[in-house]
Amino acid sequence: MASVKLKNVYKKYESAHGGVMAVNDFNLDIDDKEFLILVGPSGCGKTTTLRMVAGLEEITAGEIYIGDKLINDVQPKDRDIAMVFQNYALYPHMTVFDNMAFGLKLRKTPKHEIKKKVYEAARILEIEHLLDRKPKALSGGQRQRVALGRAIVREPKVFLMDEPLSNLDAKLRVQMRVEITRLHQKLKTTIIYVTHDQTEAMTMGTRIVVMKDGFIQQVDSPQVLYEKPVNVFVGGFIGSPPMNFVKTRVRKDEKGVFLIFGEAEGSVLQSRAQAAEQKLVKPTMIYLPPERASKIEELGYIDKEVIMGIRPENIKDDPRFFQQFPDAVVEGVVDVREALGAETLLYLKISDVDFTARVDPSHKFKPDDEVKMVFDPTRLHIFDAKTEKVLPV
């Protein structure tokens, strides 16, 4: 058991045209016994980061510690780490016991110790009754547990898991997520878990690192990532269906500060014919609550462009919200209605911009219906249009 620390870690893959900076100034302290998740789109550097911790990839710059020990120059097999990947293989002619014992035998562990470790791992995984079976006689989930058992018997300080569940069918995947989380609680050891699937990250992690293009974007609990994304990327990446985004302009009138989109732009330059051809779009305005309004004004954003983000569940059709936020009512047209049982997704066009709303299944609207909804103005995310960073409002 040990903490893991990455300090200013960089990885550059050299190539003919300058090379790829796969990981950029990565700084992270992972606590002893923590379950940490690395998540991000394909190519963002998750595997590279994991491989550097394992020692399978040389680091270009920076320092990696396991416990208090700097391990930059320690051989992978001496780092006291076990890795679990997606394509595990069980040895077909060996029993479950021998499958779990095999790696220890390779390391010349004494027989009685092997026995003790295998039994202990089997107990934790609840597969003691399967020890004499051959892999052929196991279910998918049982095999997966044996595969985990092979890593557990090594009693590593840190487990590294690179998308271990992505080859499983949906049902087994959900089941194994729960099992791995439970396993972590029983083992009380540090696990770094990589996935590209934000749902998996959100359901399993206590702390999640969101990466993009080799940079850490945000490190936080699932809840904070969801409610307070630091930038457009995190907002869009976390959550399903994803957050809605639209470019808006901040304006002010006698009633207050509002965000507006769907304004006719550059109309002066348009010829009449062009204007006639273009269908008329009615702009949408959302007034901000006074406190947010004054903050955004203080920041000097009046008349500037910002990106507005709103989660599907914060587009409301509940009468309570119409009363509470009469200045945040929007009008749109239903494009598609998708009933999912517990909830209904409405795909809307509002000022000709696409939005997804998550509403109560009792919602009666059909495609082409004109609807009024409320954009909960306390739950709007407002980002700078250029830096795409969230505004502190």
């Binding site: 045209h17 300058g18 399978l56 780490i81 394509n87 595990y88 293989a89 390779l106 092979r150």
Partner: protein, 364 residues
């Protein structure tokens, strides 16, 4: 010889008297008293046993048994006891020893046969004859995997691979040179190529996690007869090299999916340099960054739809356009246009290839 010792260990649990295996020169190969391994029988005793025509001989309170393969003595076995039961036990033990010897021999022969096919120049005639002797079918779907695991212990790695593919009639694993291994694996008549790729990924992940070592796997072409197995091996090696040049990240290289890399790899260096100078005069390609390359890849993948590309790359649509314009400014190629994009992509690959050649030259 560790393996006879294993056998002795198993018998020890049944037999209380000291037992052992001695080679015909008198060296103890295995013994229930492991301290005696490596010591020598006194010459006088050895002579007495060999002089005697009987299969079992008793000398100084020890019963010896000669184990024959054909008319050749392969080893002697002994038990420190003289009785009818002891002799019976010794005979049983000798049968196990012989079985073990023959098993090792046949196993050795199989993989050394595959090894010779791949590494040497056996004639078709030789291949077919030896296959018949070893009872290996000549016509069969087989695939060659080239596995490289630098930094791992050779014998541990062989052990992992052999245990992943324990069925010796369908798989043969051997080492080519340090850190490079070959798996010849036969396929069912119904197997799809997908199955082959799955095996490659399984090898990569399993070997990496067992040995904590970086692992690459290259897949050769399918061979339908032992006589074209060598070709499959050569293609696996080519896949490995091309994979290293053009892919980088991918640890699996499949000869059947080398794509454009396959062609470029065969081009003369001179043509490559001329082509590159033509497309990117003055080595402008050296100023490209990965972002541009990713953008091109994205455009191909998304059928040149800019919005989709932006979505896939998690960037704003305008950034994609900006990058496209940047490329155009440097190269004059408008990669929104399919033809220009193709030229650009090939040029990028050619530049990777040339930098590989340059690196090789430095090494030599």
């Amino acid at each position: 010889m560790q393996s006879y010792q294993d056998l002795v260990h198993e018998v020890m649990e049944i037999v209380e008297d000291e037992i052992g295996v001695v080679d015909p020169d008198g060296t103890v190969l295995a013994c229930s008293d492991s301290g005696k391994v490596g010591s020598n029988l006194p010459d006088t005793i050895l002579k007495e046993i060999l002089k005697n025509a009987d299969k079992t001989v008793t000398v100084n309170g020890i019963t010896f048994c000669k184990v024959y393969s054909g008319r050749k003595i392969i080893v002697l076995t002994y038990i420190y006891s003289v009785s009818e039961t002891a002799e019976k036990l010794l005979n049983l033990f000798s049968i196990s020893v012989l079985n073990y010897y023959q098993f090792c021999l046949s196993r050795l022969d199989r993989s050394s046969f595959f090894r010779s096919i791949i590494m040497e120049n056996l004639s078709e005639h030789e291949i077919i004859n030896r296959a018949r002797e070893l009872r290996i079918p000549v016509e069969m779907r087989r695939i060659v995997f080239h596995i490289s695991v630098p930094g791992a212990d050779d014998s541990a790695c062989l052990s992992v691979l052999k245990n992943m593919f324990p069925d010796r009639s369908n798989s043969s694993v051997f080492i080519v040179n340090s850190s490079n291994y070959i798996l010849v694996h036969s396929l069912k008549s119904t197997s799809k190529h997908r199955h082959v790729t799955d095996i490659a990924y399984m090898i990569k992940d399993n070997v990496s996690s067992e040995l904590m070592a970086d692992t690459r796997v290259a897949i050769g072409t399918e061979s339908v007869s032992l006589t074209d197995l060598k070709k499959s091996y050569q293609n696996a090696v080519m896949a490995d090299i091309t994979g290293r040049i053009f892919e980088g990240k991918e640890k699996i290289a499949d000869y059947n999916k080398l794509g454009i890399g396959r062609l470029i790899y065969k081009l003369p260096e001179e043509s490559c340099r001329i082509f590159l100078e033509e497309v990117f005069p003055g080595e402008t390609y050296k100023t490209f960054d990965e972002e541009m390359f990713k953008t091109i890849e994205g455009l191909f993948e998304c059928n040149f739809n800019i919005s989709k590309t932006a979505e896939m790359l998690f960037v704003h649509r305008n950034s994609v356009i900006y990058r496209i314009q940047k490329i155009q400014k440097i190269t004059g190629l408008d990669v929104r246009n399919f033809n220009d994009a193709v030229i650009f992509k090939i040029a990028m690959l050619v530049s990777k290839y040339l930098s590989y050649i340059d690196k090789q030259k430095k090494v030599d």
